[in-house]
């Protein structure tokens, strides 16, 4: 019997196991998921009062996939009985012209049974911590935000924990299970000064448990979000134009994720709908630029022991000392002649896997951030980006800065507001002329084709020689 963790123990029932085996012997792949999550939110319009909201969810289901003639057929269901699995498999098989009929039932055993080493090893499992302790941590985050300045007007703190057990069975890959545990806290602050308003955010997360708050003290989270909101009050609106831009680790990481990572997902590369479709082997950046995706990072928010197609996680180099050498593949794109990575991920059992990033980062260099900024006579320093979009086909991007400063004479000067960065992925890569030694990671959720998965992006401080920024219309 395949080894399964307790929440999936019913899969060991003989009739269920036989049904799963039959599906895989017919060429199908089965993905089973058991997910428990909890969200705790504190919303406050004053330091003295707040509104609590708590909710929990249990989601259990399976997805069955067949492939034939270049077509993928996928079916998902909540009904985890032998009949439920069989019915789902029949629909998926028939959608690609295959059949389950006539297949022998439950003969033999899978060739391999593997429980992969989890990427997440919680030091404080979330179910070992009571809700009062969790609530107290959120109260401390909120209190630290309110304490920063009387212009703070709204504070919302949200904590989310997810424990996910997955099993993947296929005829070629046997049976594998993995456990992923993630915890994340976000703090959103609104500050007001007369009619002027600013918003700030901080949102650390880990692949792990409640040790989140040991690694990220609550008082630092709330204070950071509040300071970012206050920076937007009375900030100077910058002049639009092309200038030298220095990106802090968080901002640099988002640029790497959006402007490069998505374009290097193999499904887009293979369909020639990525700006990187024909650049493999080309020098795209200076030798100090190396970009990596690594789902095996310990405690990484985007980490996993295996991807959602059962491939053990491993590091993939995408750009090696300036040269594009790799792409992120799933099983389907790997068959198109690309080196297989372990990046087939899905939001849940209700979704077929896609090529997705995990923990994507620009490797650290040797320069100090102070030296990188010090070499800039006039430019802009962007500490954080609040979001943005990239068109993978053209490489054009637009990002909004939530924390930015004017650089004058090699020093950070006045804070700026309403700064947007515009550019092109290939041109921005080429224009990176300095890479710092302060690599760090930011956690987030990434959306693609209406699927959201947890990821992290990382970067040290980087300098881009020419980037378009926009501020006021005047």
């Amino acid at each position: 019997m395949p080894p399964v963790d307790l929440p999936l123990a019913d899969l060991s029932e003989p009739d269920v196991a036989a049904a799963l085996l039959r599906i895989t012997q017919c060429g199908g792949e089965v993905f089973v998921e058991h997910r428990d999550s909890m969200t705790l939110r504190l919303s406050s319009g004053s330091p003295e009062s707040g509104t609590w909201e708590a909710r929990s969810d249990r989601d259990v289901g399976a997805g069955v996939r067949f492939a034939a003639g270049g077509i993928l057929g996928y079916t998902s269901t909540n009904v985890l009985t032998p009949q439920g699995f069989t019915d789902a498999a029949r629909v998926a098989a028939e959608s690609v012209g295959q059949s389950l009929d006539g297949a022998a039932l439950g003969i033999g055993q899978p060739s391999q049974s593997i429980r992969v080493t989890p990427a997440h090893r919680p030091r404080r499992p979330v179910d070992s911590v009571d809700i009062a302790t969790k609530a107290e941590a959120l109260q401390r985050v909120a209190a630290s935000a309110w304490a920063v300045d009387p212009r703070v007007r709204d504070v919302t703190v949200t904590y989310v924990e997810v424990v996910q057990h997955v099993l993947v069975m296929s005829s070629g890959g046997g049976s594998r299970t993995d456990v992923r545990t993630r915890a994340r806290v976000t703090c959103r602050v609104v500050a007001r000064d007369g009619g002027d308003r600013g918003s700030g955010f901080d949102g650390p997360g880990i692949g792990g448990g409640f040790e989140l708050f040991d690694d990220h003290p609550p008082q630092e989270i709330g204070a950071a979000a509040a300071r970012r909101a206050l920076l937007q009050l009375g900030g100077t609106e910058c002049r639009s134009g092309t200038t030298t831009v220095v990106l802090g680790p968080s901002a640099g990481g988002m640029l790497v994720h959006e402007a490069c990572g998505h374009g290097l997902e193999a499904d887009l590369v293979a369909r020639e709908t990525s700006v990187f479709s024909r650049t493999r082997g080309n020098r795209l950046a200076a030798p100090h630029v190396t970009i990596v995706d690594d789902p095996s990072l310990p405690a990484g928010f985007g980490s996993y022991g295996m991807d959602d197609e059962g491939r053990p996680s491993h590091r993939t180099i995408l750009i090696d000392r300036g040269v594009q050498v790799g792409a992120l593949t799933d099983a389907a794109s790997a068959k198109l002649g690309m080196s297989p990575s372990a990046n087939g991920r899905r939001e849940s059992y209700a979704h077929a896997p896609l090529c997705r990033m995990s923990n994507t980062y620009l490797a650290g260099g040797v320069e100090s951030p102070a030296a990188i900024i010090g070499d800039v006579n006039s430019g802009v320093y962007v500490a954080r980006l609040s979001g943005g979009e990239v068109d993978p086909a053209t490489g054009d991007f637009a990002f909004t800065a939530s924390e930015a400063f004017q650089i004058e004479g090699g020093e950070l000067a006045r804070p700026l507001r309403a700064v947007t960065l515009m550019g092109n992925s290939l041109l921005a890569l080429e224009a990176i002329d300095a890479v710092g030694d302060d690599l760090s990671f930011t956690q987030a959720l990434c959306g693609k084709d209406d699927q959201w998965v947890p990821i992290s992006y990382g970067s040290p401080t980087v300098r881009i020689a020419d980037l378009t920024i926009t501020g006021t219309r005047s």
């Binding site: 705790l40 707040g50 509104t51 609590w52 909201e53 708590a54 909710r55 929990s56 969810d57 249990r58 989601d59 259990v60 289901g61 270049g70 077509i71 993928l72 057929g73 996928y74 079916t75 998902s76 269901t77 909540n78 629909v91 998926a92 028939e94 959608s95 690609v96 809700i131 609104v190 308003r197 600013g198 918003s199 937007q232 639009s240 369909r271 020639e272 709908t273 209700a350 979704h351 077929a352 609040s386 979001g387 943005g388 979009e389 086909a393 053209t394 054009d396 991007f397 637009a398 990002f399 909004t400 309403a418 947007t420 515009m422 378009t468 926009t470 501020g471 006021t472 219309r473 005047s474």
Partner: protein, 441 residues
């Protein structure tokens, strides 16, 4: 009695003294077919999900939990979680579960659900859509085409006696194309929704996408100072949706939010009249009741430029107020939040009148997800489109940065066309909108 109905009733029977329970059950079946260049089918997804979201009120404290495990033990666990979450919440004297309402109205087109087309018919439609676009223009290739059929049932049951249910179905078809003339790359998209498979017109959807991509190719336009700005529906939808989200009960009452708008405040030009319609037959979001079981309404939000109303749910109203029927859940996992149903901007001109003379036409936005700040109302994003000079195409532009605020944009609206249409993923039936010259510099 369906499995879902049985599970809902089992859950309500777990009520304890001093409690009220509201169980929201959703059963969803979705088929999505993806096709690529030349009409080749890439993937066929068929999903079926069944789940319940529970709201438990105990002494005016609310707790939420949800589950896809409809076994007896799964339901019991869900109720216990909601009970423990309620113990954490504050007392909110205004919180109450909806009582059974009056009869629910709505156009007959909402019910009953249409039976889905066969898989073979769905595959043929997706193939046709991709083929039509693949063969339309030598400079255009297909990025992806999709056909989606969704059938869902919602049942809401509460210990107050509320029992409502409705079925819905709709079909969507969309396509994304990439144009490349050797010097410029541009994208185009086409979208359609309806309720009957027979109404799907792959040719029209493909043509819309190809024509958009082709419009954005070619020589780059020179700046056109002093021209009016026209937002095509895909672009206008984002701003209309932002205005709708800004006009919810708590924000209007407090005079805060991106429009800082209390009732009666002027927030837009005098020609702007915005309503939210819970029953509009041209919207896939139309339903007889909202996700708390409250009858949907038509709510006036902005009348001749001034705030005239707000959207609410039972969780956001104050004592003495009535919900506008705008409670919305993303799925059974989400507690209800206030959201627009279908936003309508009253038209003032025919479409052809907006597209004459010297006009800057904005077709696409980049960075709108974060570029429209729902707290401060700031708008910082990039726009793509083309220019009309004396009503004739005079070049395209891409990725031009613009900065303004939601309030400034609404005040700059000086005409609204009569071509409102559904835009993918937006609550707006968005028309073409004209802005006065100079807003974007």
């Amino acid at each position: 009695m369906t499995d879902l109905t049985s599970a809902l009733e089992q859950m309500l029977a777990m009520q304890q003294s001093g409690e009220h329970l509201e169980a929201y059950g959703a059963h969803r079946r979705v088929t999505t077919i993806q096709a690529g260049s030349g009409g080749a089918i890439r993937q066929v997804d068929q999903s079926e999900t069944l789940g319940i979201g529970l709201r438990l009120l105990s002494d005016h404290r609310s707790g939420y939990a949800s589950t896809a495990d409809l076994s007896r033990s799964g339901l019991e666990r869900c109720v216990e979680q909601a009970r423990s979450h309620a113990a954490l919440a504050q007392v909110n004297p205004a919180s109450d579960l909806p009582a059974p309402g009056a009869t629910y109205s709505g156009p007959a087109v909402l019910t009953p659900s249409a039976a889905p087309a066969s898989l073979r018919e769905q595959l043929e439609t997706a193939t046709s859509l991709a083929r039509q676009a693949s063969s339309s223009d030598n400079n255009v290739r297909v990025d992806g085409a999709a056909y989606r059929d969704e059938q869902y049932s919602v049942e809401i049951a509460a210990t107050t006696g509320l029992r409502v249910a409705h079925d819905q179905s709709f079909i969507e078809a969309w396509i994304e194309v990439i144009g490349d003339d050797g010097s410029v790359t541009a994208t185009g998209s086409g979208y359609w929704w309806g309720r009957a498979h027979a109404d799907v017109d792959p040719h029209t959807i493909a043509r819309e996408a190809v024509e958009q991509a082709v419009r954005l190719l070619g020589r780059r336009a020179d700046a056109l100072a002093g021209a009016s700005i026209v937002l095509r529906p895909d672009a206008a939808a984002a701003f209309i949706a932002a205005a709708g989200r800004a006009l919810t009960g708590p924000l209007v009452r407090s005079g805060r939010g991106p429009l800082a708008a209390a009732l009666g405040t002027t927030v837009a030009s005098p020609i702007v009249t915005l309503t939210d319609d819970g029953h509009h037959p041209s919207s896939k979001r139309a339903a007889p009741f909202d996700d708390e079981g409250i009858a949907r309404h038509t709510t006036s939000l902005i009348t001749k430029g001034a705030v005239s109303g707000q959207l609410s749910s039972t969780a956001t109203i104050r004592s003495g107020e009535h919900s506008t029927g705008n409670a919305s859940r993303g799925s059974h996992k989400s507690p209800p939040e206030v959201a627009p149903t279908t936003l309508l901007l009253a038209s003032t001109l025919e479409h052809s009148e907006l597209m004459s003379g010297d006009v800057v036409v904005i077709e696409q936005l980049t960075g709108e997800r974060s570029g429209i700040n729902n707290v401060t109302g700031r708008i910082d994003l990039a726009v793509t489109g083309y220019i009309l000079r004396d009503s004739e195409p005079a070049g395209a532009f891409a990725g031009v940065p613009v900065s303004t605020t939601l309030g400034e944009l609404l005040r700059a609206i000086d005409a609204v066309a009569d071509d409102a249409r559904v835009v993918s993923r937006s609550p707006a039936l968005a028309p073409t909108v004209r802005l006065a010259p100079g807003l974007f510099g």
